[in-house]
């Protein structure tokens, strides 16, 4: 009955091999995301919810040139521009975005806006938890998109215009 013996040996070897993989994986670092119990990790280039960046002085980088809105294939960026003055200085350029909305009902995360921006103001962050039962809440305003101010934050920029 050499075949029976061979069969048993083969099976044991297969099991050992399989368990070996299991053991190896068990001992190597895990790559399965533990989301939502712990935060997911992303590739650097992941295109998530946008972030409107600030410059080294804490001023907004966006100068309201409307190029992102022009590049956007789904027409979901809405901007209203206003002029910086001596008392109200929001951005580094002459102009800033008084209103900057992105409609995430429509955004396809293509990244064209990021590519179009001449001042690297609009970037893709890694945020993605934006699902909602109410589509109205998917229109994000500048206040939601803006990067947190860094230190030092100049006094004058704290006053928002009404």
């Amino acid at each position: 009955m050499p075949t029976k013996v061979n069969e048993i040996i083969d099976s044991a070897a297969a099991i050992a091999k399989g368990l070996g993989v299991t053991l190896k994986e068990f001992l190597s670092p895990t790559i399965t995301e533990d989301y939502p119990d712990s935060p997911p990790r992303f590739q650097e280039r992941y295109r998530g919810v946008h972030v409107l960046e600030r410059d080294e002085n804490g001023l907004e980088k966006c100068v309201a040139c409307f190029l992102c809105a022009a590049a956007c294939p789904s027409n979901c960026i809405y901007i209203e521009a206003a002029e910086n003055t001596d008392t109200i200085r929001i951005s580094g350029g002459e102009r800033y975005a008084k209103v900057y909305n992105i409609d995430y009902n429509r955004c396809i995360f293509c990244g064209y806006c990021v590519e179009a921006c001449p001042t690297d103001a609009i970037t893709h962050g890694h945020g993605f938890e934006i699902a909602s039962y109410d589509t109205v809440t998917l229109i994000w305003r500048k206040e939601q998109l803006l990067a947190q101010p860094r230190e030092p934050y100049p006094e004058a920029t704290v006053t928002e215009v009404g």
Binding site: V63, A64, C65, F66, L67, A69, A70, E80, A81, A82, E83, G93, E94, R95, P118, T119
Partner: protein
Amino acid sequence: MEELVKLTIDGKQVEVPAGTLVINAAKAAGIEIPAFCYYDGLALQAACRMCLVEVKKAPKLLTACTLVAQPGMVVHTETPAVVEARKAMLEFLLTNHPLDCPVCDKGGECELQDMVFRYGAGESRFLEQKVHTEEKQFSPLVYFDAPRCILCYRCVRICDEGLGVKALGVVHRGVYTEIGPNRGDHLECDECGMCIDICPVGALTSGRYRYKTRPWEMQHVGTICAHCSNGCKTTLGVRNDAIIRANNRDRSGLNGEFLCVKGRFGFDFVEHPERLRTPLVREGGELRPVNWMQAVALVARRFEEIRARGGRIGVIGSNRTTNEENYCLQKFARQVLGTNHIDHHRTGDVVALVDALAGRTGALATTGDLYRTRAALVIAADLAQQQPFLAFQLRANWRHHGLRLYAVTPGPVREEQYAVRSVRCRPGEELAAVEGLAAELKGEPELVILFGDAVKGELVHRLVAFGDSLGIPVKYVCLVDYANSRGAADMGLLPDLLPGYRPVAEAGLERGMALPEILAAPDLDALWVVGANPLKDAPLASTAAFVVVQDLFLTETARRADVVLPAASAYEKTGTFTNVCGEIQQLRKAIDFPGAKTDLEIFGLLARAMRAEIGPANPEKVFEEIRATVPGYNVALPVLAAGGAAPSSPQNGRVPVEWRPELIRSARDTLFRSGTLGRYSQALNSVTEAPGELYRG
């Protein structure tokens, strides 16, 4: 027969009239030669060298903008040598150019951007620090950013040659060369903004439009200026139901790209905070807001009641509402209210002119005639102040065709700069002075006579008789003030005339009271004022009269009203206007103003509430009716629909009216004033409040 010249451009055979510039010959053949400093209609400059072309047998590249086409010339516009030269010129222009396109107002419609995109180098070899100067504010409406300027001198030339203002010049030398304003640090000028519009780059920018938006973000609506009677076409840039700028860059109207300060900047009255947004009804001595249904019901009830007891109703129409609205108003007054006491503020004696020219055709000059006529005579009018586009047109005629202009005025006028003969006379003696020019005028091949409100009534007949005595073809323009002053007369907002200058007797009516008589009648029972402010100058005698006012603002008249109905402005409706020369043009609705209704809609609501039949309150339908019933208005609809101007030709027998010269009175609004609308335009007020002699008075 004009002499023709044959030449070859890029292998294409082109035939053009002798004297044509190569740049225009190429354009005629559909070949674009880039140009910054060359500008159609302005003097040659040859400053930018963008238009360099290669001409066979010429030793070097030549500027197409100064090169006159010669027979047998062979021109190449895109050879490697030409492209190389343009690239070099652009590199040179960019040495000190900030390239801040993302924040530059011109970005997206910048001629420099376009050219650099087409020919420019991708890299800069210029590593030195760029010359930078701070942006300057020349005036409330004109800003100048020197680093962006490419020194094409278009602005200098349009202001000098086009307007005759000469407010811009060139200061400093070399890389520090800049455009400078006439008062050293600021401008005192017409504030027309033509320099901003004509600037190929973002060096001159508009105080109203700066940093507001981008050209591609706006909808562009071509309509007619709401201010003076010249009827300029203006293209409104609209975003989110707000007008952001006005220009006519596409040269699509009778005015080409001309706009004066009112047309270009004075559109902001529509968003003045005091604009009426809800109907008001007087309760216990005070005007209180009510809804439209209540207000309309009240007016209908009171009108019905006054009509039933045979009360006297006076109606005062507007110089600013559309032909359709004026037509409906007089129809409403005459057919529904049964009153013939209807009038408007008359600013020129159009009626007398139509009467004096009875039976002729083609005796009314169009704006195009002003550009082509060989000679013109201006009587008692300061055109540059009161009729800006007509002044521009005559000046262009003088520059291009050597117009011979005669001016007979009581005071100094800008036209004297180039008039062949200018005569000062005491007010009231204009015609005597004109008659003194008979011998000179007889020597002209043709003549256009423009006359202001000093010539009225019998004097108009005397003027036309004088014109006839010259023995040359003479055409006339009766100057009036506002956007549809002419249309108000044409549409029969007159106590003695129906639309088309037909006598009221045709409709079996008696002559009604004129405007001052309406206001002075002690027993007036109701007064209905549509888009006018008569109580600014005269009180209303009848204290018991029920007063209804339709207007944009709470004017002096509206404050006296029992019911105020908020009306839409010209930029918020469709319809037609007739300009000072009798040219009919179409308005297009640019924006909606919440709360207001067009006067036509209001007439419709009132008619329905009174169960009266005045036809559909729809501008197209009403215009159909006007075309069918008003003599001279049977114009071609496609012309209007395509944004063109169709000349009306009022023409019938004598107009049997009494001459009432005392009723004719121009408001003499200057460049920065425009009746009620001007008072509510922050742009216009910002100019008159700025320091500077020019804006006074």
